[in-house]
C-alpha cells in the first residue's frame, strides 16, 4: 500500500529494507539503529548544512533528530517512508534552529582562514572546497528557496512530496525551486 507513496531515486527494495530495519528497531535491535544511521547520515547532514550553513549546527541538528528517532521507533510515519521521515525531521529542526538563532544570535566559532571546514583535524565534519562554495551560495538564497532546493537535490524528495511536507501547492514549490536555481546560476 505504502510502496507507491514515495520512492526516492529507488526501488521497492530500498523501502522494504527500511521497513525491515524499523521493524527490527521496534523489537529492540540496536544494530538496526546503527544501520539506519550509516545509511542516511550523509544525506541528513547535507540537508541540515544546506539550510543552516553551519557545520556544528548541522551536526547538532542530526544528533537531536537521531536521538529523538531512537526514542520513538514506534512512529508509524517512520516505517512508511523512513528516508522521507528523517529528511523532513532534519529540515524542520534546522528551520527551527535557524529561527532561534535569528531571534537569539550566538557567537559562531570560525577559523580565521576562508576554508574553515577543510583540512582541519579539529573539525569533525568533512566537506570539499567545491561543496563549501555550494553551501555558501545556498546561504545567500531566501530560506524557502534554499529549503526546497535542498530537499529536492539532497533529500531526493519529489516536488509533490515536498509540497505535502510543507503544506504548499506543488506550483509554489516548483516556483521556489526554479527561482532558487536561477539565482544559483548567477552565484556559482
Amino acid at each position: 500500500m505504502w510502496l507507491n507513496v514515495w520512492l526516492p531515486r529507488g526501488s521497492e527494495r530500498v523501502v522494504l529494507k527500511d521497513a525491515r530495519l524499523v521493524h527490527r528497531l521496534r523489537h529492540g535491535d540496536v544494530d538496526a539503529l546503527h544501520q539506519i544511521y550509516h545509511r542516511y547520515k550523509d544525506d541528513l547532514l547535507t540537508v541540515a548544512m544546506a539550510i543552516l550553513n553551519d557545520s556544528h549546527g548541522a551536526e547538532d541538528c542530526v544528533h537531536d533528530v537521531f536521538v529523538h528517532f531512537a526514542t520513538t521507533p514506534a512512529d508509524l510515519r517512520a516505517s512508511r517512508n523512513l528516508r522521507g521521515y528523517l529528511i523532513r525531521s532534519v529540515a524542520n529542526r534546522a528551520k527551527n534552529q535557524l529561527k532561534r538563532e535569528r531571534s537569539q544570535p550566538r557567537q559562531r566559532i570560525d577559523e580565521p582562514d576562508g576554508c574553515s571546514q577543510c583540512d582541519n583535524p579539529v573539525r569533525r565534519l568533512m566537506v570539499t572546497e567545491q561543496s563549501m562554495q555550494v553551501f555558501e551560495a545556498l546561504a545567500k538564497l531566501p530560506d524557502e528557496q534554499r529549503e526546497v532546493i535542498s530537499l529536492h537535490l539532497h533529500g531526493q524528495m519529489r516536488f509533490r512530496e515536498i509540497a505535502d511536507a510543507l503544506d504548499l501547492s506543488i506550483n509554489t514549490v516548483q516556483s521556489r525551486y526554479r527561482y532558487g536555481i536561477e539565482k544559483l546560476r548567477a552565484l556559482l
Partner: protein, 136 residues
C-alpha cells in the same frame, strides 16, 4: 553562466560527510536514548494506538466499536441474561407450589351411526394435586 542542469548537478553533488568522531557521538547518544526508551510492552501498546489513530478509517471504526459496546451494555436491547437462571428457577418453584395446571383443547364427538359429529366444543381440564382432575 552555467545551465540549470549543471547547477542542479553541482548542488546535488555537494556533500557534508561525518567522520568517525561524529558517528561515535551520535550513535552513543542515540543508543543510550534507545535503551532508556519505552519498554517493549508499552511500545507495542503505543504501536497499536498509533495504528488506530493514524488513519481516519481505523480511528472512526474504533470509535464506533466503543460506542456500540457502550450502547449494548447500557441499553440491553436484547434483554438481559444476567438473572436468567434465577428467573427460571422462580417460575419452576411457583408452578410446584401451585400444584395444579389447566389443559385446554378442542373436542369433537361423533355419535355412532352418524356421519356428522354430534358435538364440537372447546374443553378445559383442570389438574390439581389437591383437588384432582376436572374437565368442562
Amino acid at each position: 553562466m552555467k545551465s540549470s542542469e549543471q547547477v542542479e548537478r553541482i548542488v546535488g553533488q555537494a556533500r557534508l560527510k561525518a567522520d568517525q568522531a561524529t558517528d561515535t557521538r551520535i550513535l552513543r547518544d542515540a543508543g543510550a536514548a534507545f535503551v532508556e526508551s519505552a519498554p517493549p510492552a508499552r511500545r507495542s501498546r503505543l504501536i497499536l494506538w498509533r495504528f488506530i489513530m493514524e488513519s481516519k478509517v481505523t480511528r472512526y471504526s474504533a470509535a464506533a466499536v466503543v460506542a456500540l459496546a457502550a450502547a449494548l451494555v447500557l441499553l440491553s436491547p436484547f434483554g438481559t441474561s444476567r438473572n436468567g437462571s434465577v428467573v427460571l428457577a422462580d417460575v419452576a418453584d411457583k408452578v410446584n407450589e401451585m400444584g395444579n395446571s389447566v389443559l385446554t383443547g378442542h373436542r369433537t364427538v361423533w355419535c355412532q351411526g352418524q356421519e356428522e359429529p354430534c358435538l364440537k366444543a372447546d374443553a378445559a381440564a383442570y389438574v390439581s394435586s389437591e383437588h384432582g382432575y376436572m374437565e368442562e
